[in-house]
């Protein structure tokens, strides 16, 4: 893939199309703000077990340097402590806070020190993409199910109730842990993370790890609720899913009502969500369109 002339600086170097802004609230979240004159969408990224807000996604933030679609996107990278936080806590935080990020540009970045990131900071986004990897997929599904149930209840009581922002989202999941870890998944996870966080996970007896066991009541409940809600007409809960092959960490099971899934050969649990300008653009394509190739 080659860079377009538009995406090059006068000196021939890659243009930096976005500025990462670390947010104070919620702390640790990073919003990559586009400097394009017209921005149409917000893409929200939720990392997985022992992942990082930015590191998990590698070249995703640089998408604007190769594709116009990404130049017209702001990117929100969600951070949480996977060895400490529980699934419900992160899902609730995400659902609650997303209202402040979509459809309007987040207030904290509309102007910093009197300087705007782009001339138009008022036009609302036209679309929302929700992207999760591994545990991040479980968190997104829990947030969506809660938002949909809350919406069902509130709209019954009050016809003028506002629809939760997160329900505008199109869901794209990379090897989500919605079916839990494989029987020997812990070994795969250790090999996939290669980090001392694994020791911390055992020492803390991390609740998220317990909740990702294949027979976990938490996973069963999220699945049962989501399938019921999809059947009741909540289309936004249907997910496009792509699996790594081989994936020795999670079980590859989609929910009834999801779009037909697919797998990418010669990827693994860690690499499946990391696009590369040289040779692996599929993750960008997948987020943009939901297509697998």
């Amino acid at each position: 893939m080659t860079l377009t002339a538009e995406a090059m600086d006068a000196n021939g170097s890659e243009r930096e199309t976005h500025t990462p802004v670390p947010l104070t609230d919620p702390s640790g979240w990073v919003l990559h703000v586009s400097h394009a004159p017209e921005v149409k969408r917000l893409v929200v990224f939720v990392h997985g077990f022992m992942g990082n807000a930015l590191g998990t996604w590698d070249e995703f933030p640089a998408g604007g340097s190769v594709r116009g679609w990404w130049r017209q996107a702001d990117m929100l990278f969600v951070k949480y402590e996977s060895t400490r936080d529980n699934i419900n806590g992160v899902a609730n935080r995400l659902r609650r806070n997303l209202e402040f990020f979509y459809p309007q540009l987040h207030a904290e970045v509309r102007e910093i020190d009197g300087i705007k990131p782009r001339a138009d900071v008022d036009t609302p986004y036209e679309e929302l993409l929700l992207v999760g990897h591994s545990l991040g997929g479980v968190i997104l599904r829990r947030s969506l199910a809660d938002a949909a149930e809350d919406w069902e209840q509130r709209s019954t009581d009050d016809e003028s109730a506002t629809r939760p922002a997160i329900l505008d989202g199109h869901v794209r999941l990379f090897s989500p842990a919605i079916g839990g870890f494989r029987a020997a998944g812990i070994l795969g996870l250790l090999k996939a993370t290669l980090s001392w966080s694994a020791v911390e996970m055992f020492v803390r007896r991390a609740s998220a790890y317990t909740d990702l066991q294949p027979d976990s009541p938490t996973l069963a409940r999220i699945r049962e609720r989501t399938e019921r809600l999809i059947q009741a007409g909540h289309e936004s809960l249907r997910a496009h899913i792509v699996w790594a092959n081989p994936d020795n960490v999670v079980l590859a099971e989609r929910y009834d009502g999801d779009f037909v899934d697919d797998s990418w050969d010669e990827t693994n649990h860690r690499s499946v969500c990391k696009p590369l300008q040289a040779g692996f653009p599929l993750p960008w394509d997948f987020v943009e369109s939901g297509r697998y190739e």
């Binding site: 500025t19 400097h35 640089a62 300087i115 705007k116 980090s195 001392w196 020791v199």
Partner: protein, 292 residues
């Protein structure tokens, strides 16, 4: 691109530089931190600073660490200027504490720290401000400046900061206390596998578990900063020796905790792998030491 560079510079000033300067200026006077940094680098030790110093040795060494972090940030700023990622509107004299009272001449501060740290010698450059030590290669196709900078800041989480401070800046007593706590924890875990550990206890040990280095694996948080600190021209052999000794102690503690934690894993293959992590870490360290 000018507007984008202005915005980035505003983000850099408000989200990175000012909080870092505010940390340095929390006690208004930066001289204790400066003195502590000099004592650390020359290997004189910190004992002369306690207990009669203006600040405790702990506070002074924290301030020394914050000064080095400011120096690193200014390096990022200079590298970003070359790339036109930032624009030059951070003037000397713009550093201030949270009340806006105590002004700092950034250029002078940078010059003082550059001389103290010996960056001329380390960089092989005449310019103490040359940010050649940063983990960013302009010719690397995959690493944009923005990515390199934001990833470097993401890595600098609380555990990484604590690890760097303890390994390179902390007075001996602080180091020993931290290591003893970690060793006691490993023994307790070994003797009582069902031990329930509160989050606050694990939080206090996070620098041992999560600080990333020493680890035998690839690019880990804080690693490049440690290699930079080890390579500075101003670092004495006495300081290097102390750091080497602390690294070895850290390996031992990690090994003990990993062995104890392996007892918590049902899957024997996973338990063996977990225990092996620490041994591989030791090998990684030996490799790095022998290169020096």
């Amino acid at each position: 691109m000018n507007d984008a560079a202005k915005f980035r510079t505003a983000v850099f000033r408000t989200r990175y530089l000012m909080p870092s300067l505010n940390a340095v200026l929390a006690s208004s006077d930066i001289q204790p931190g400066h003195n502590a940094l000099e004592a650390i680098l020359t290997g004189e030790g910190l004992e002369p600073l306690e207990p009669s110093g203006i600040l405790s040795a702990r506070t002074a060494t924290r301030q020394a660490f914050d000064l080095v972090r400011c120096f690193e940030l200014m390096g990022w700023f200079r590298a970003g200027l070359r790339r036109s990622y930032f624009i030059a509107d951070i003037e000397p004299g713009q550093g201030s504490d949270s009340s806006g009272d105590a002004l700092v001449d950034l250029e002078e501060l940078e010059a003082q720290l550059g001389t103290l740290l010996g960056t001329r010698e380390a960089n092989g450059s005449e310019d103490y401000r040359d940010p050649a030590y940063l983990p960013w290669d302009e010719t690397a196709p995959r690493m944009t400046f923005g990515k390199a900078f934001s990833r470097s800041q993401e890595e600098m989480d609380g555990a990484s900061q604590e690890l760097l401070w303890r390994l390179y800046f902390a007075p001996g007593e602080e180091w020993s206390t931290g290591v003893d706590l970690a060793l006691r924890f490993a023994v307790d875990l070994e003797e009582k596998p069902n031990l329930t550990v509160s989050d606050s206890v694990v939080d206090r040990l996070a620098w041992v578990l999560r600080g990333g280095y020493p680890s035998g694996y690839g690019d880990t948080p804080a690693r490049w900063r440690i290699e930079w600190l080890e390579g500075l021209g101003g670092v004495s052999s006495a300081h290097q020796e102390r750091t080497r000794s602390r690294s070895q102690e850290l390996f031992s503690v990690r090994q003990a905790i990993a062995d104890a934690a392996a007892g918590l894993v049902d899957d024997p293959a996973a338990a063996a792998h977990l225990a092996a992590v620490a041994r591989l870490s030791s090998l990684g360290s030996a490799t790095r030491s022998s290169r020096r």
